[in-house]
Structures are given as structure tokens and as C-alpha cells.
Amino acid sequence: MESQIKAADIIREIKRAGIRFIVALPDRVTSERLLKPMLADPEFRVVQVCKEDEGMSICSGLYAAGHRALLLIQYTGLLDSLNAMRGVAIEGSNPICFMVGLLGKEPGVRPTQAKRYGIRVVEPVLDAMQIEHELIETENDSAKIVPAVERAYERLAPVVMMIGREPAR
């Protein structure tokens, strides 16, 4: 099995992508090693939200104000917010960059092969909505982050980066 991605590498790449606003709801996959360090990092402004759909709209407002943002949520919140995904992200041509924890996915297993139904449907739902997605799980996957963010801003379209397991320290 390839080695597990490190949290510090993810955070480094987020910064390298020019993102300073983090809009977030806690998720067990990302809270300890991504969200908590971001909350303590003076280079980030973290906006804590009550619901994932409002997070998309905050990212939209930040984009219109000339800033890049990342929406850090759990896959359940992504599934709960599909109408905002349709209206705000896709039809609104907003480059919303999602980082989505796949809580309960087995390490090294493709999301579509996971035991949990909720995880198995994430990629097919994103495919049906024509939303680009990347799995971020192993050490080499950190190299996907900057290009994914850049493509979102070039295409004015959302991208979903799925965090496949809790990152290593």
C-alpha cells in the first residue's frame, strides 16, 4: 500500500494554491489534523458555518470579492447540499473548491468499492452532476491539489477533493 498523505503536505499545497479563506464544518476525517491547525494558523481566516450550503455561497461571495476559498466539509454535508451545488456552484459558474472527508471509507479502497452506501454513491453523484473530483489519500496525491484548484478557477466550475482517510501527522 502507498504511504498515507501527511496533513502538513495538504495544508502546504492549499496555501500554494493561493487559498487563505477556509469555510468549514467539522468532520472526523479532517478536524484534528486539518481544521484545528488551520484555526490556529494566522495565515488562514477560517469561517465556521452551520450548514454546508451556506458555505458554498460564502465561497461565491469571496470569489466575487477577488479571493480564493476552500470549503472543508464531510461527504454527508456534500450530499445534503446538492441543490446549492447545482444552483450556486454549477449554474452560477462559481469555482468552489471542496475538500470532503469520506468518513468510514476503508484505507486503500476506491470510494465506489467502499462498504458504506453513502460513500459508494459520492463519485457517481458527482459524475452525474458533471463535477470534477480527485481522491486525496496517499503521499503522491498532494500534487493533485494545486492543479485541481487552478482548473476550478480557469473553468469557473467546482472541484471536489475527497480526503480518503485521516491524514498522517
Binding site: 481566516r45 465556521q48 470579492a65 479571493h67
Partner: protein, 188 residues
């Protein structure tokens, strides 16, 4: 009870360089009453106006952001009151155009009409200041007394009913080319 267009005209007469985020019927009227590149109407989904506005307010703390939200819209995104109060943008004025109905969707009443206190909800969520206006002269006096310059976040509940009708222009409200024009105008 104020007529909506009269209420909005009073705001338009005092507008300077503020960003105005408007939704649904208020947006359809506002684009005629106060045409301006800094009108943001690209909401995407019902209830999201205040959240787009929060992003704008955080991204441009040098600009005042006024939201013309709906009562039915706010009910779809009540958590945004807590999010906004926590983020505490000083440049944020959250107006609720309270007409008691889902006017765009057939004018059916909102749940618990006339019993919900939007100012009360905002205070409970942590907004430091709230106002309620049902009379045009009181609204105008508050505007003249500097309400738009007060530190936010502020919630202003405007109790209103439909006034003069204005033509609907969904293209102006939702087309991405206008959003990109907004972005360019704001960047100047």
C-alpha cells in the same frame, strides 16, 4: 406597513458606494429602483442571499454590504444568522423584506406568519443590533440618522406589502455575465 417600492426607494436615495445583495421580488424591483453594477443578485438557491453577502463582506471589509433578504428566504437558512454573528463583519447590514409570504412562489403564507420575530431570532443568534420598521417615516428617519453607517452586523426587519409592480428581468438577476461585471466593478 410600508409599500415595498417606497421602502426600497428610500434606501436607494441614500445609497452611495454600498454593495447591495438582493433576492427574489426585492431584487426584481431593486434593479429598476437602483440600477448599479454593485447589485449582486446571483443567489443560485433560495435562502442563500445572506451567505453570499457574508463572503462579500469578509472579502471586502472596506465596503458596506446591504442585504435585501426575504422572510421566507431567511427561514431556509436560519443557521446563517449564527454564522454571520460569529464572523461579526462590521460592514454588514441585513435587511429582511418581511411580507409574510413566499411571494415569488404563489404568495402562500410563511409558517407562523406574524408570530415569528426575525429581530428576536437575530438577537438570539448573537447580532448585536436589530431594528424593526413598519412605518415609512420611521424608516426614513433612521436612515437619515445614520443607520447605514453603524457597525454591524445589524438586522433590520422591514415590514412591507407589495407596492407598484416592476417588470421581471431574470437574465439581469442570474446571468453570469452580470456577475463577472459586478466582480470587475468591485475590483476598480
Amino acid at each position: 406597513m410600508m409599500k415595498r417600492d417606497e421602502c426600497l426607494k428610500a434606501l436607494a436615495r441614500r445609497r452611495k458606494d454600498e454593495i447591495v445583495v438582493a433576492v427574489y421580488t426585492a431584487a426584481q424591483e431593486w434593479i429598476h429602483i437602483s440600477p448599479n453594477e454593485l447589485n449582486f443578485t446571483f443567489i443560485g438557491a433560495m435562502g442563500q442571499g445572506s451567505s453570499h453577502a457574508l463572503g462579500l463582506a469578509l472579502g471586502r471589509p472596506d465596503r458596506r454590504v446591504i442585504v435585501l433578504d426575504g422572510d421566507g428566504s431567511l427561514l431556509m437558512n436560519l443557521g446563517s444568522l449564527v454564522t454571520i454573528a460569529n464572523a461579526a463583519p462590521k460592514n454588514f447590514i441585513h435587511c429582511i423584506c418581511e411580507n409574510g409570504t413566499y411571494e415569488t412562489n404563489g404568495a402562500v403564507s410563511i409558517p407562523n406568519r406574524n408570530k415569528v420575530s426575525f429581530a428576536g431570532l437575530a438577537r438570539g443568534a448573537g447580532y448585536p443590533k436589530t431594528y424593526e420598521f413598519a412605518a415609512q417615516d420611521e424608516w426614513e428617519r433612521a436612515l437619515d440618522d445614520g443607520l447605514l453607517k453603524e457597525d454591524g452586523p445589524i438586522l433590520v426587519d422591514l415590514k412591507m406589502e407589495p407596492g407598484e409592480k416592476y417588470p421581471e428581468d431574470f437574465r439581469r438577476l442570474y446571468n453570469v455575465e452580470y456577475r463577472e461585471a459586478f466582480k470587475k466593478a468591485l475590483a476598480k
